[in-house]
Symmetry: C2
Subunit: 215 residues, 2 copies
DNA sequence: CGGCATCCGTGACGATACTG
DNA sequence: CAGTATCGTCACGGATGCCG
């Protein structure tokens, strides 16, 4: 019966980095993690936000991730009866890996190529590192033409630190365009300078909005 | 003439993490970086310390990394006239990525499989994060049955933070076996407990050795 | 001997079509 | 909606050969 999975290709090295790459080094795997870090996702949503991945590869990766304890399948019963994929705690622990990749990759962004897909929440990872500390946990909505997502700042312990699901009232709201967002991520533009130049609008009256404005 | 390399396969996503994976997401690339983080290496050395990589893939990766500005070729003129590969500053900036991968992958090490290759310096990355802060820059030699490597602690700015090249007199020396080293990396064993149990020997009289002993 | 280039068999990948 | 089936192509791994 068991079709004897022909043994996933391993580096066969007794090395922590090589073991990590055995688990998540396959093409598309870390990008699936990036998507799931924003919260539970349906198969079709994943396929839509990962342009270029073929259906069978996506299905295979999700199965592998499940078998390795990185993700789980779950049925949601309410009206929107569907199966969603969700990271386990072990899978969510990959956040620092994606953070490091995003920080290193931000300078490679450059100008947007005509073939480049774009989703608003892809800015979440590099952006988080560029925003000032808020002291306490704060939720910031980021609004771009391409979409909206929210960041949870200051509280790195409980679950994913960004998402685009339903949110309560945020502590502040940031309105900007994709190019401004890129300059922020690269560090070429400071939040304060962007606000002064009128390229970034900070909405909100609370202390978090005040900190973001740089006052 | 230009054979028009059919364009390296890209994710075509305007996302910092995806751009990073475009550059270093290919099989073997990050492991080559791991090797070069220890210092300049010859082609043959790389091939020897990356068991399983085929000669053409290694040559192709090195050429890609050179084209992308991650590594350079250099001739060393003295008696050992050979060409060595060396990371550029941009390539060395991948250290946090490998750190994050190593930290995540350490719990996956488990028991050593009979097929697993092992090199002493593969412990350098996860081990660095488990050693106490030394205040000032310190060089620690780590001695295992499989080989020796040294760590530069406390001074993360100047060049690679580990290596196995020729070293001057270290500030301290750590002697242990591979299994003890694994438990240290996983956090299952503290340095102090290992010393008390006689599984780790700390050699040296200076302040760094004293800190490592946990006094 | 170090540093690849070439050839070949296998498997992973990408696109499309189709199904419960 | 959530995949499975099929197929052509390309990347990978292993072995060998060439060349300074």
């Amino acid at each position: 019966m068991s079709p004897r999975q022909p043994r996933r290709r391993s580096y066969d090295q007794y090395c922590a980095s090589a073991r990590a790459l055995d688990a998540v080094g396959d093409r598309w795997t870390l990008l699936i993690v990036r998507e799931l870090l924003a919260g539970p996702r349906r198969y079709t949503d994943l396929h839509a936000d990962l342009p270029g991945v073929s259906t069978d590869v996506l299905a295979t990766r999700l199965k592998d991730m499940e078998a390795q304890g990185l993700a789980t399948r779950r049925k949601i019963p309410p009206p929107g009866a569907a199966t969603v994929y969700e990271l386990t705690a072990r899978g969510a622990d990959l956040l620092p890996v994606l953070h490091a990749l995003a920080e290193w990759g931000a300078p490679e962004l450059g100008d947007r190529r005509p073939t480049d897909a774009l989703r608003a929440h892809w800015f979440a990872l590099p952006l988080m590192r560029r925003l000032p500390a808020t002291g306490t946990t704060a939720v910031v909505d980021v609004v771009l033409d391409e979409g909206v997502f929210h960041l949870r700042l200051g509280g790195g312990d409980a679950g994913p630190a960004y998402g685009d699901g339903p949110a309560g009232a945020p502590d502040a709201r940031l309105v900007l365009d994709a190019d401004t967002c890129r300059e922020l991520c690269e560090g070429a533009l400071s939040l304060e300078a962007g606000v002064k130049a009128g390229r970034i609008e900070v909405v909100g009256a609370g202390p978090v909005a005040t900190v973001l404005r740089g006052d």
